[in-house]
Amino acid sequence: MKPKITFRNVAMWLIMAAVGLFLANAFRSDPTLFAQQVINGMSQGAIFALVALGYTMVYGIIELINFAHGDVYMVGAFTSMTIASLLGASHTSDPSQVIVTLFLMFITAPLVCALLNFSIERFAYRPLRSSPRIVVLITAIGVSFMLEQVGLWWASIPSDLLSYFGGSGATPKAFPALVPKINLLAGTALGINLTPKHLFALGLAIPLMIALRIFVQRSQTGKAMRATAQNRDAARLMGINIDRIISITFIIGGALAGVAGVAGALYFEGVQWNMGFDMGLKAFTAAVLGGIGNITGAMLGGFFIGLVSALSDQYLAGQWTRAVVFGLLVLVLVFKPTGILGTGSSQKA
């Protein structure tokens, strides 16, 4: 098909060219700073991508923007901080204790989040399976608010019970610096700062995404998931247990959000009751950017949004980043609602 010269296409290419020129100039003036921001962006992006996967999988299967998903991520972060409190781990603990704590975090948080996401679907969304979409969307907003309330209570648990919480539930809580802030590239001439928290985000996210991709493409369950996403009724007629597949989707999405919660708490060095709202919007933007329903797209979109946030923080100003990310969301939805890799149509939504 020949590309059409429409106002939309021209506007899109102009915007992309302007951004490209801007970035090229930024790279030319200080390559080290630029590379540092790329590393920061990729690490953040890995976390966004993990959360975005939950959005995209759920949307692919039941066409619901699971508004509560960002808050499931928050619960993951809170769970990991609770474990750190219970085990008394801090930046002065010896390495073996830190490793045990981290290991327990990465086991518990995904389990808690998977269970939570499963229950949300089972008790809030499933009874509304045949209701109009706006009803389910509003229910999701309601669930999100309830989880934020849980976050407020959780954060205000007195510090003599959980040492890292306490005080007003509304204030951000600092996460203990469990992973040392050493520069792994200190000896090299690159001048870039790469710390273990960067590696945690990237090193967890990328293998998980590859595993998920293999699972969805190769396994029997993955095949059933894809079939359900394509046509729920036809899949049912082929003997696929739709309820089970939807539950599995929510469980996987929740577990990924749990991993992201731990990685996010370590990376951003803090937790807050409403951290899920911002993360949810950014991750959803990532999912839309990659073409909602498309797993590879969500991963690429996540990294892209991470890069955009990091570069905007550096080269524009931190306070404009929100506007940049949401502006990007609006532009994508208006100009190319199918996303970069998507094939569906905006009419479907």
Binding site: I65, S130, S131, V136, G142, V143, R232, F284, L329, A349
Partner: protein, 402 residues
């Protein structure tokens, strides 16, 4: 004149006899500021003093009536309604503050509150058209998310437009919105012969709010029955069918966004004058969701439902939670842990719970619009996309019977 006069007397009599509960309610609402001060005096200032909170409640009711047009009539899920509220409030502030970012204030006549509130609503209407235009091809969830994006961008703009430079018109680093400090000293409403409203006597604000709500309610009812209103409802039920029947979708959608935005801008201008200041933090996502909750809980598509929802949601938030906290505080003398509960921190949980329960039990809301209620239950009769589940249930029922 005779028969007409007689008729009006009989209809007044009818109204009194048949709708006496409503009449009493209206009188109580209209005279509330007096009742409030009487309550305060009798109880030694232990209860009462709610007039100020009620002004905020009325403002939420205005917003709910405006969003009812967008969500209830036209069926466009708007998650960024606070954007227009912010635009109205900032317009009012910049139009009337004696220290605007430019050199001289606008040369309005003495009573410029009334002029400025209309202009602010006009600016909001216009921004409704502008923000609505790119969303015309979008539907459902995508529309919701784009409006959510706008709702997030607008406060960021107001927060950060502190150094605006426009080349060629000699505007250099103009501090338009003063960032977090906001804009203050906004015009007060003035009644000729009576004087300015003040922050000491809140009753006039309350009555002005009631008046605006009456007008908004009237406009809502008239719009519902108008040609445009029918076009909105047709579009809500089936956009493609409406378009093929000759409804101009672009015009209809833009008018829904614009009118909703104008209501919101009006409420924003009123609020800015009441608070005597605008700050970017007052227009975040919580406002949009609170108003959406109000419309959905009250019954979208029915202006009385939206009104009830607005009063309920904001009333519980502004008065109910504080009241519960006071009660718990008193009970704290007997049951220790109750004394420490601050119910105003429970807002999110209560909103969330209310939304989920209403959606599960009565998705059309408390006072639904009949046609809208049918739409909400449509899917359940058909059971899903193609009725396979219904067929399965049929088979199950048969096998159980057999």
């Amino acid at each position: 004149m005779g028969p007409l006069r007689e008729l009006s007397i009989t209809s007044m009599g009818m109204l009194l006899r048949k709708r006496w509960k409503l009449v009493i309610l209206v009188i109580l609402v209209a005279l509330y500021p007096f009742i409030d001060s009487a309550l305060q005096r009798m109880s030694g200032y232990a209860i009462g003093g709610y007039t100020g909170s009620l002004v905020t409640v009325l403002m939420y009711a205005m917003l709910a009536l405006g969003l009812n047009i967008v969500v209830g009539y036209a069926g466009l899920l708007d998650l960024g309604y606070a954007a227009f509220f912010a635009i109205g409030a900032y317009s009012m502030a910049l139009l009337t503050t004696p220290h605007p970012p430019w050199d001289t204030p606008f040369p309005f006549p003495v009573n410029y509150f009334w002029v400025a509130i209309i202009i602010s609503a006009g600016i909001a209407l216009f921004s409704g058209f502008i923000l609505g235009a790119p969303t015309i091809p979008l539907r459902g969830d995508y529309l919701a998310i784009v409006t959510l994006g706008f709702g997030e961008i607008v406060p960021v703009l107001f927060r950060n437009l502190t150094c605006v430079t426009i080349p060629f018109v000699n505007i250099n680093c103009l501090d338009l919105t003063a960032g977090e400090r906001g804009v203050s000293l906004i015009a007060l409403p003035n009644v000729p012969g009576v004087g300015n409203f003040s922050k000491i006597d809140l009753a006039p604000w309350y009555w002005l709010g009631l008046l605006i709500i009456l007008v908004a309610l009237f406009l809502n009812r008239r719009l519902e029955d108008s040609r445009l209103g029918r076009a909105w409802m047709a579009m809500r039920e089936d956009e493609d069918a409406a378009a093929s029947m000759g409804v101009d979708i672009v015009r209809t959608k833009l008018l829904a966004f614009g009118m909703g935005a104008a209501f919101s801008g009006f409420a924003g201008a009123y609020f800015a004058s009441y608070i005597q200041g605008v700050f970017p933090s007052s227009f975040d996502f919580t406002v949009s969701v609170t108003v959406l909750c109000a419309v959905v809980l009250g019954g979208s598509g029915n202006p009385y439902g939206a009104l009830l929802g607005g009063v309920m949601v904001a009333g519980i938030d502004r008065i109910g939670l504080g009241f519960m906290t006071t009660v718990a505080d008193r009970l704290g003398a007997f049951i220790p842990f109750l004394g420490e509960i601050d119910f105003s921190l429970w807002r999110y949980g209560l909103y969330g719970l209310a939304l989920v329960i209403v959606m599960l039990v009565r998705p059309e809301g408390l006072l639904p619009n009949k046609a809208r209620a049918r739409e909400f239950h449509e899917g359940q009769e058909e059971e899903g996309l193609s009725g396979i589940a219904a067929a399965e249930q049929e088979v199950e029922r048969e096998s159980e019977a057999g």
